[in-house]
Amino acid sequence: MGDHPLPGDEREIAAAVSACALMFDGSAYLSHRYGERGRQFCRSGGGFLIVTCRHVHAGFLEQVRWLVGLRAARGMPGWLLERHLVILHGCLRREIPAAGTRYDGLLTAATDLADRRRRHLAEDAFLAAASRFSARAPDCHPTLPEAGTLLAAALCDEAAGNEGAVRSLLDWLADPRRFPPEWIGAVHATAGELAAEISHECP
């Protein structure tokens, strides 16, 4: 399906590009799994977020929740979008200092996503997921420090009704052609342990 719209303002485009550079440079998972094509999608996703936030105001949250589902089904848990929204907001503030509150909808949406995630897993358990995983897989792949967090985030997405969130993450994270058996064992064990703590109730 075609491309998302480009923001009209060059500074917004610059912000979308630098936000994706920060996202990808700061995530071994994103850059290993999605590479250059992923960066392009990330940039057009940033364009979508900027244009929608700027123009759609009150309907923006609904659009962001739709994007969570779309990305979660492709192995990108909603927590990554939370980060993207915050980073994008920071990049826009840097590019356009006079913007005032114009892009604050991005932060509101990030908070909304975090609140939704916390309905399914308490924040301390979520934050501990990364170390939980690395304790099980101490020596393999130190380059994927966010693996445990991604598992926790995908489980929250799935519990929120985003079908395929866990499977699409595991397709890569537990792929025997890519990772050694100890790693895959650690992935499944951590996922199992976290799954037991996930609340499926929707308050």
Partner: protein, 222 residues
Amino acid sequence: MNVHDVFREYLDALVAGDRAACQRIVEGLLDAGTDLKSIYVDLFQGSMYRIGELWERNVISVAVEHMATSITESLLPLVYGRLFGRPHVERSALIACVPSEFHQIGVHIIADFFELHGWHGHCLGANTPVDGLVAAVGDMGPDVVGLSASLAYNLPVLSDMLEAVATHHPGTAILLGGRALTFGQGEFSPAALEQRFPQATYVASIEALEAYIESPRWRNGT
């Protein structure tokens, strides 16, 4: 035979890219005298909505989605034999997508739907420039102009286009439709747009469109 009986088979053929099978199903429905409204809404629209959900959930690829779209577009004319032979009234509607809106199956169906009700239904398709639409309304003088937006981020351009048509053609009735309006809030909510432009009416469903076309305003020729 009704659409419900063949929907699953049709959707499977659409996903498989089997145009011939889809065509056979549509022809079968037409031969059986199935209500055209049901073919448009339950079959064409219903299957494309399912295609959208399957793409969203990453069950089908973007290529399959494109193929399904092109098959659907190629099947719409099968209905024409039953559309254009009907008696017509001297009323016309001009339907267009707003700029940067590429979802055009809906506007084709809406134009056809006017034909089904005896009007002349003209469709300008996707991504219609504002100036072009304003000029076409001047040239063709339709009774009704229909504007369509599917994507929420196109609501501001819908509002701009509405303003342009309303300013240049204050006597022309304008209909607003498409899924974007279900997301419209604040200044872009259907109610706010209708209030700002009293000649505009938001049409939320095919049933509402039928009621609009059949309303005394158009039946009595005022």
